[in-house]
């Protein structure tokens, strides 16, 4: 009976899929080092109608998701990769009929092949990737107790000649689309906590950079701050009610908190130095930011009212780009090197700072919503591209941006995270686009 809540939860997550059977298998991955070995067998498909997504495409999407999870080591049966020290096998059936896809996903232990997870996912054929991602996330949930991030998206900035546009894509690179076509400079995207909106800074108005919000699904842009001087570095608060940002309307760059429509600015810093790049703690009670008040740029932490400012680290030189982990216990940041930047992680009191990513320049680290991964921009292979690393930093994986250069990534929240009071009324209540 103790399994019942989990089954209910899985059934709820599986909508519109119908039924779920689970057998509880939990593997502790807290150590981070050991990964469960999975053998992915091809989905069995009958005759597929013309134009339908092939089961092999689904096989590859699933295997890619499971590798990306950092929970599993994956061997693909259809590539002739032999099973090696396998602990579980994935497989199932794939049906496409009448514009609908049905995926019957199965996970069995190995070698006994007793069922661990069996679940049916149904949806429109056009959304077939989403069904596969759900299956992958459920497999991660089954093995770790927490859903995976296969259904998340990445916002990023793509250079286009001298200009930069805001883009968004699925984590696996599918569905990439430009959200701006301003032929201007878009920078510093930040997701609203419900994943529906992106705040960013742009030079599209001519003159100084202003803050805008755009629906993540595409659509009209809405101006949220066009005060004199800088309007940069936006960061949605965890409850979606506020946006922390950098303004210089009072003569110097300072951290402010605005309401989500851009009004009621509340100044948090008051200092002749540069203050920028705010990042909220997941409780919303504290904000990490960069300041050069001690002579060189350094990450600091303050309370949400601007009080209790303390420098984060003293043993790492020139630090910037703080990103507070969604679990609340770590802060990622960059430290300057002769080649650019390395990515570090430390405790929220600055203790235990450790190098995570080096080689080339590695910039703008941002957390996955499960706190297991960091996405960052790097020129380690030449042009700037996006990479994902686990906290152990081993062999960062390049994200697929279709061969285009990319920088300033921001990882969406999980699709089933439900933050309260997200300002979905921003667009309608602000039709003129002026604060």
């Amino acid at each position: 009976m103790r399994r019942l809540p989990l089954i209910v939860l899985l059934a709820a997550l599986a909508a519109p899929g119908a039924r779920a059977q689970t057998r509880e298998v939990r593997i502790d991955i807290a150590g981070g080092g050991r990964r469960t070995q999975l053998y992915c067998e091809a989905l069995v498909a009958g005759r597929l109608p013309a134009g339908a997504p092939a089961a092999r495409q689904a096989d590859e999407v699933l295997a890619g998701d499971l590798e990306q999870s950092a929970v599993f080591l994956v061997a693909r049966a259809w590539s002739g990769q032999p099973p090696f020290d396998v602990q579980a096998v994935t497989g199932g059936r794939w049906k496409v009929a009448g514009g609908q896809v049905t995926l019957e996903g199965e996970v069995r232990d190995f070698p006994a092949r007793r069922p661990i997870l069996s679940k049916v996912y149904r949806g429109p054929a056009a959304d077939w990737r989403s069904l596969v991602h759900q299956f992958a996330d459920d497999i991660v949930l089954q093995f770790t107790g927490e859903s995976g991030v296969a259904r998340t998206r990445i916002a990023f900035i793509a250079p286009a000649g001298r200009n930069k546009e805001l883009w968004v894509m699925d984590l696996d690179g599918a569905g990439a689309r430009a959200l701006t076509a301003d032929r201007s400079i878009a920078l510093s995207p930040s997701w609203s906590p419900d994943g529906s909106l992106l705040a960013f800074s742009t030079y599209r108005d001519g003159g100084s950079p202003h803050l805008y919000v755009v629906p993540a699904a595409g659509g009209k842009l809405f101006q949220v701050s066009a005060r004199p001087g800088l309007n940069t570095s936006p960061a949605y608060s965890p409850d979606g009610r506020e946006i922390a940002c950098t303004l210089s309307k009072d003569g110097n760059s300072e951290i402010y908190v605005l309401d989500a429509r851009g009004g009621l600015p509340r100044r948090l810093t008051d200092n002749r130095a540069i203050d920028t790049s705010p990042s909220w703690s997941p409780t919303g009670r504290e904000i990490a930011f960069t300041s050069d008040r001690s002579g060189s740029p350094q990450v600091h932490v303050m309370d949400r009212d601007g009080g209790n400012v303390r420098r984060l680290t003293y043993d790492v030189n020139y630090t910037d780009s703080p990103a507070w982990s969604p679990r609340g216990d770590l802060i990622a940041f960059v430290s300057r090197t002769s080649a650019g930047f390395d990515v570090y992680v430390c405790g929220t009191d600055g203790a235990n700072a450790r190098l995570v990513v080096s080689g080339g320049s590695n910039e703008n680290p941002r957390w996955s919503p499960d706190g297991r991964h960091l996405v960052f921009a790097s020129n380690r292979e030449g042009a700037y591209a996006l990479y994902v690393s686990d906290l152990d930093g081993r062999s960062p994986r390049k994200l697929d941006t279709g061969g285009h250069a990319a920088m300033s990534p921001s990882w969406s929240p999980s699709p089933h995270s439900s933050a309260a009071a997200v300002p979905t009324d921003v667009p309608n209540s602000n039709p003129g686009g002026r604060p």
């Binding site: 001298r162 200009n163 930069k164 301003d182 032929r183 201007s184 400079i185 920078l187 510093s188 800074s201 030079y203 599209r204 108005d205 001519g206 003159g207 100084s208 950079p209 101006q223 066009a226 001087g229 800088l230 940069t232 570095s233 950098t246 210089s248 003569g251 110097n252 760059s253 540069i274 203050d275 920028t276 790049s277 960069t290 050069d292 060189s296 740029p297 910037d320 780009s321 960059v334 300057r336 650019g340 930047f341 910039e363 703008n364 300033s408 686009g433 002026r434």
Partner: protein, 174 residues
């Protein structure tokens, strides 16, 4: 077999020529680019859009961009160097003599440093130059500032000579 050394020599000479050509080409690749044109503006808010008209019609003799020298900065610094002060002294005299000339000072940074920090640093540079001009008698209303951070480099290279070119407060007539 006896032809091998000859072949080898031909190969080596050929390779050397190719390399030399490659180097020569490379050396030519990164001259300092001319100052950037103002950004393409498609603005829904004309009130905040600075005019990009280079000079006021009818003013004579015309002041041109070439009459101004940009103020350059050290790494991570917004302190005015002696050469920057000299450039700004000349600019202040010019602006005092031509009361109809208005300018925008653009702050620029080299590529080292993050996007957001460089936006703030560029503004510090533009403000330092503006404050100097105002102290030298130029009305503040005639000097706007704007920071591009590292987004509009003058020189595209990735070495100290390019970086030095890109750390500046840049004069734009408006």
């Amino acid at each position: 077999m006896r032809k091998a050394p000859v072949l080898l020599v031909v190969l080596v000479v050929g390779l050397a020529a190719l390399l030399a050509a490659g180097c020569a080409k490379k050396a030519k690749e990164a001259p300092p680019t001319p100052p950037p044109a103002p950004p393409v503006v498609q603005s829904p808010t004309p009130s905040t859009t600075p005019s990009t008209t280079p000079e006021t019609p009818g003013s004579e003799p015309a002041v041109t961009k070439g009459d101004f020298t940009d103020a350059f900065f050290d790494l991570d610094s917004y302190t005015l160097r002696d050469d920057a002060r000299a450039a700004l002294d000349l600019a202040a005299k010019l602006l005092r003599d031509k009361p109809d000339v208005n300018i925008t000072l653009e702050g620029h940074c080299d590529e080292r440093g993050t996007v957001e920090y460089n936006q703030a640093l560029g503004e510090k540079r533009a403000n330092a130059a503006r404050d100097y001009l105002v102290a030298a008698g130029v009305p503040a209303a005639r000097v706007q500032t704007l920071s591009y951070g590292k987004e509009r480099p003058f020189a595209e290279g990735h070495d100290e000579s390019a970086w030095a070119q890109n750390r500046r407060a840049h004069f734009v007539l408006r």
